[in-house]
Symmetry: C2
Subunit: 119 residues, 2 copies
Amino acid sequence: MDKVNIENKFSQFDGHWQPKIVGELNGQYIKLARLKGEFVWHQHETEDEMFMVIKGQLLIKLRDRDVILNPGEFFIIPRGIEHIPVAEEEVQVMLFEPKSVINTGDVQNERTLDSAEFL
Amino acid sequence: MDKVNIENKFSQFDGHWQPKIVGELNGQYIKLARLKGEFVWHQHETEDEMFMVIKGQLLIKLRDRDVILNPGEFFIIPRGIEHIPVAEEEVQVMLFEPKSVINTGDVQNERTLDSAEFL
């Protein structure tokens, strides 16, 4: 039950596509992640997912359009909507999502994490 | 299903202590609010509540200590914990909380809102 300084948390980890849990409330997690490159097309069948950009620029591709997020902008991807995050340069993002979310959604591959770590 | 630019949303309203809903996911709302002055001691019996500061400085008093939040910092107030937000100068905050939350929690007074507005 301490306050969280986002910049400070980002200084504590390096890897890409490995969200860290920095808060928990009402069955949801707040996560921070560094993204770089192209992820994988996937969807979450029962969870909506929020991406908020802290630093850098994130492209979220949907099947019918692209969404570009700069710092101070967020986007909610409704459940069941296929998406792929793409970061040409490294981007720092904050995620809000239910504790049950699996990072690659309905896809199982080498990027699938068993669980996210607490930071 | 559009992206949200936080600064742009803040430019669309003025009043204090009147959170606006700017996002909805998994039974939770994302709200933005301008706070100034002292609110009221209250608690939420069944909901945890997250305050993230976007601009300015927020003091959250708990019964046993004070928490000071600057931009880029957030704090989660667990359910059942009495708190009072205090903003000496105007502060812009983002809130993340279940849709069921009433702004003054267990207290009913002139600051109680029937519901928050969508923006």
